[in-house]
Subunit: 179 residues, 2 copies
C-alpha cells in the first residue's frame, strides 16, 4: 500500500488566504501517470461541541451559504495564521456565542475531502460552558445562539435541520464520547 | 434569519465533471454587498457503513491523496449522472469490496463545506452484508478490504488512523443508530 508521487504541481486559481485550487501530475504505484488531478486548499478550521448547564449544547441557528439554507450548526471558525486550533475553538466559541469553558478535550482532526484535500477540521469537546459576554463575531452571517439537548440536536440531524457535515460529525463524535 | 442574495455569479475554473470553482457577488440581509465570495462544486458522493457477520464493518485500507496518507475509510464513490444516491452506495460497496446487503437505511445527506458548498455526502447503513463477488472497482487507488468491529474502528478514529471526515461522520452516526 504505497502513496502516490506528485510529479508536477500547478496553481490554477489563487484567492489567498481563502482558497487556492490547482492540479497535479501524479504517478500511481503501478507506474500509471495521471495528469490534471485536482487539489483544493481552503482554510483549516476548528469547531466546538460546548456543554453548558444541564448538558445542553451551545448551538447556533444561522444561514449558511454553502447549503443555501438557514440551519443549526456548532460554533466554528477559521484558524488564523500562527494560531493553535484549540485557541481558535476557544476564541470562536466566545466570539460567536459569548460562552467560555474550562475543560477542553480533542475529538480529533479530520481531512475534509478524500481526493482533493481542501483542509482539516479540528473538533473539540468543551465542558462547563457558561455565558461570560455578549457575542461579538463580526461574521457575515446573522447568528442566533440556542441551547439544545444532545437528544434534540441528534433529532435535528435526522430531520435535516443540521446539515453541515462539519457540525454533524462533531456532534456524533461528542455523543459517543459522552455516552 | 434571512438567506443571502446572489447578485452575480462567475465561473473561474471548470474541470467538469470533477470540479468547478467560481465566485459570487452577494448581498447580505443588512444590505452589505460582498464581491468575490467563493463557491466550489465537486461531485456528490455516497458512502456506506455495511455490517457483515458478527456486526463487523466492511472497511477499506487505502492511500487517500486528499490526506496524503494510507488510512482506513468506508466504501464510497461519486454519484453518476442520473443515478440515485442509494444505488451509488450499493454499486460502490459491491465494486470496492465485493459485498452486497439487503437491508439499507439512510443516515442522512450532508453538505461538505459550510461556506463554499462543494457537494453533498449521502450516508447509508447496510445490514446483513455478505461477500458475493470479487472487488472490481477500477479506482486509481489500491484498496484492501478489512472487516473490523465498530469498537476497533472508533479506536482507529481516536488514533488518527481513520481521518477522512466523510468516513468518520458516517461511522459515528452509525454507531449512534446501532446503540
Amino acid at each position: 500500500m504505497r502513496p502516490w508521487k506528485t510529479l508536477e504541481r500547478r496553481v490554477l486559481l489563487s484567492r489567498k488566504p481563502w482558497l487556492e485550487v490547482g492540479e497535479e501530475k501524479i504517478e500511481l504505484p503501478d507506474g500509471r501517470v495521471i495528469d490534471g488531478y485536482p487539489w483544493i486548499i481552503s482554510r483549516d478550521f476548528a469547531l466546538v461541541v460546548a456543554l453548558a448547564a444541564d448538558d445542553r449544547v451551545v448551538a447556533i441557528r444561522s444561514y449558511k451559504h454553502g447549503a443555501r439554507r438557514v440551519q443549526l450548526e456548532l460554533p466554528a471558525g477559521y484558524i488564523e495564521q500562527g494560531e493553535q486550533p484549540l485557541d481558535t475553538a476557544k476564541r470562536e466559541l466566545n466570539e460567536e456565542t459569548g460562552y467560555a469553558a474550562d475543560e477542553w478535550s480533542s475529538l480529533g482532526a479530520f481531512v475534509i475531502h478524500g481526493n482533493y484535500g481542501i483542509g482539516t477540521e479540528h473538533i473539540y469537546l468543551a465542558r462547563g460552558a457558561r455565558r461570560v459576554s455578549e457575542p461579538d463575531h463580526g461574521d457575515l452571517e446573522e447568528l442566533e445562539v440556542t441551547l439544545r439537548s444532545m437528544r434534540e440536536l441528534l433529532a435535528a440531524v435526522e430531520r435535516g435541520e443540521m446539515m453541515m457535515l462539519s457540525s454533524v460529525a462533531a456532534l456524533a463524535l461528542a455523543a459517543l464520547r459522552l455516552r
